[in-house]
Symmetry: C2
């Protein structure tokens, strides 16, 4: 799964389709999602085909929240610069010439610029040795102007990802992939220095939409180190009951249908249909899957793991793809970089 | 929860009661638990009161398996000594005068002796400073005759448990509580140097009884760093679907009733009744709870988290308390100490 989700500016299809909605009640009375009704309803022609037709899910607008967070970060970066003379810096290491990786790195760079964070980049050829990559990590580890180091994944197959990720100083591990940070995330009453960006973005969205987590039944589809497992561990820290389902799970639908909060991180286009979702559930779609689309100039479009048109008639709230978790992931990377700079320079 | 489970020699009540059983079919056809029937049945008078009356659970005999494992360890220790001249060593640090802790430490010491592992002990008074404890850890870290270091928990309240556990060299962290080991346990495709003893004992019992885990629905009651969370992470590594339920879970019984494998690590006597258990499930009871018992010479007896008399009529297999997970925990501590010595001296 991609670590940073592409935000195709030309494709806000899903977001536009459901930017107006009829709100349904979320299970918790403390939720924002009370039984208000909006003026306009969604213009799907297939509404009548779906069993649950009483309403449409509220769109959890990751793009909007990410923009707010970036504004907050920009303000803090500016304050830090004027008070301390320090500019947070993020270094990205890119190995090889994968086009998608290059695009993600470019997006991260632009995001840094937009909030005043300095960005540094080491682009190494595909045939580089592990030693060369480690040398660059070591240099960034020692560079006081760099507060966060990110190794763009996937690495070429001849490299040992574990060795390389473990070489990042935990104080600069803004991706949260160092096992020491991961261990402290997994352990009760411990605090990781950094939380992986995508799951952190999921929880941040729930918080910003005032969606209660404690005591909720949360199900995560997928068990990756990047999203599934840390998302479940984070939900557990927030006192949700958690389940992780995956490729070996025999009764996935039965389990997901019990979820008050469902995080889909399977990496399979449209795998989560309406029948997988408990009426009123909150659905966060982490999937970024290209599917063929002759009508699109690129010949493809990006869809999530969730069949959105079905899901938005069952769920009480849902993130679109694009415009949901994707922008939050980048916002959390900036947030982690700022956090690192603040911690290193004791600026709170 | 106690880290090492007391094995009251005078109290093998539960174990004796169901040491004979009628076997019921476990869901997987690959399981050992085929529809064989034993000659003797359990002599409970309350059988008819329970809805599921077709049989009794097979007893998963942790005491027996732990004895086998200790024999295996003793042979390896002896071989290592004769071939390499190396004797594995375990150091235990005990702070304060808690009677239960002293008993556990004594049991560990005896267990070491029984398999030929050297044991070292540092007993510090309750008012010791954190610095003094750290000094002892540092000495054991540097001592080549010590291959495993265990800090007996709980520590006096004026000490920072995290600081102390983190000071143990990960190569000697036979308890598996260092966050680096914990992180590698939680991450896919990573290998921790050590796995915490109680959850490792649970999985080992499942393996030794040939109980399939992959694709099974496993539910863990409890989210401690010592048992609940690492047990769930281990089950996930074995490709089970996992759920963690805890004090904040609203519908615990509903979730546990879906478990093919249920691990009870709540630390509450008899909390898991028959109705919590899916017919045919495998139940591992980690609980060690003293309850008043006027008939016992000590005035109390030890019971698990599971109401055994009900559970054994619903489950297909179950660990008794005592004689189930308890002996396995100590066996795994010895196993981890041997593993450490083998790794340090490259003896395989």
């Amino acid at each position: 799964m991609a670590r940073v989700l592409p935000l195709s500016k030309g494709n806000t299809l899903v977001h536009q389709l459901c930017c107006r909605f009829i709100l349904r009640r979320f299970q918790s009375s403390s939720s924002l999602f009370s039984a208000r009704r909006s003026v306009d309803s969604c213009s799907y022609s297939s509404v009548a085909d779906i069993e649950v037709t009483e309403g449409y899910a509220k769109v959890i607008d990751g793009k909007l929240i990410a923009a707010q967070i970036r504004d907050e970060i920009a303000m803090e970066v500016s304050k830090m610069k004027s008070v301390k003379g320090i500019v947070p810096g993020l270094a990205v290491i890119l190995v090889g010439d994968r086009k998608d990786s290059a695009t993600y790195v470019q997006r991260k760079k632009e995001a840094c610029e937009s909030v005043g964070i300095s960005s540094y980049e080491a682009c190494l050829p595909d045939h580089s040795s592990e030693k060369e990559v480690l040398k660059h990590i070591s240099a960034y580890n020692d560079d006081p102007s760099v507060h966060g180091i990110l190794v763009q994944l996937p690495l070429p197959s001849h490299m040992n990802e574990e060795n390389i990720l473990n070489a990042v100083r935990i104080e600069k591990d803004v991706d949260g992939f160092h096992p020491l940070n991961f261990g402290n995330l997994a352990m009760r009453d411990r605090e990781p220095l950094f939380i992986p960006c995508t799951p952190k973005g999921c929880i941040e969205l729930l918080h910003r939409y005032n969606i209660g987590i404690k005591g909720k039944n949360a199900v995560v589809i997928g068990r990756s180190n990047i999203v599934g497992t840390p998302a479940a561990l984070l939900l557990l820290r927030e006192e949700a009951t958690i389940s992780i389902v995956h490729a070996e799970t025999k009764n996935v639908e039965e389990i997901t249908r019990q979820a008050d909060i469902l995080i889909a991180a399977a990496g399979q286009a449209n795998i989560v249909t309406g029948s997988w979702i408990k009426p009123g559930a909150v659905v966060l779609d982490v999937g970024i899957n290209p599917v063929e689309d002759a009508d699109s100039p690129q010949g493809y479009r990006i869809v999530g793991d969730v069949k959105y048109d079905e899901a938005c008639k069952v769920a009480s709230a849902i993130t679109p793809v694009p415009g949901g978790i994707g922008p939050m992931t980048i916002a959390m990377l900036l947030s982690n970089t700022l956090l690192s700079a603040k911690r290193i320079h004791n600026f709170w």
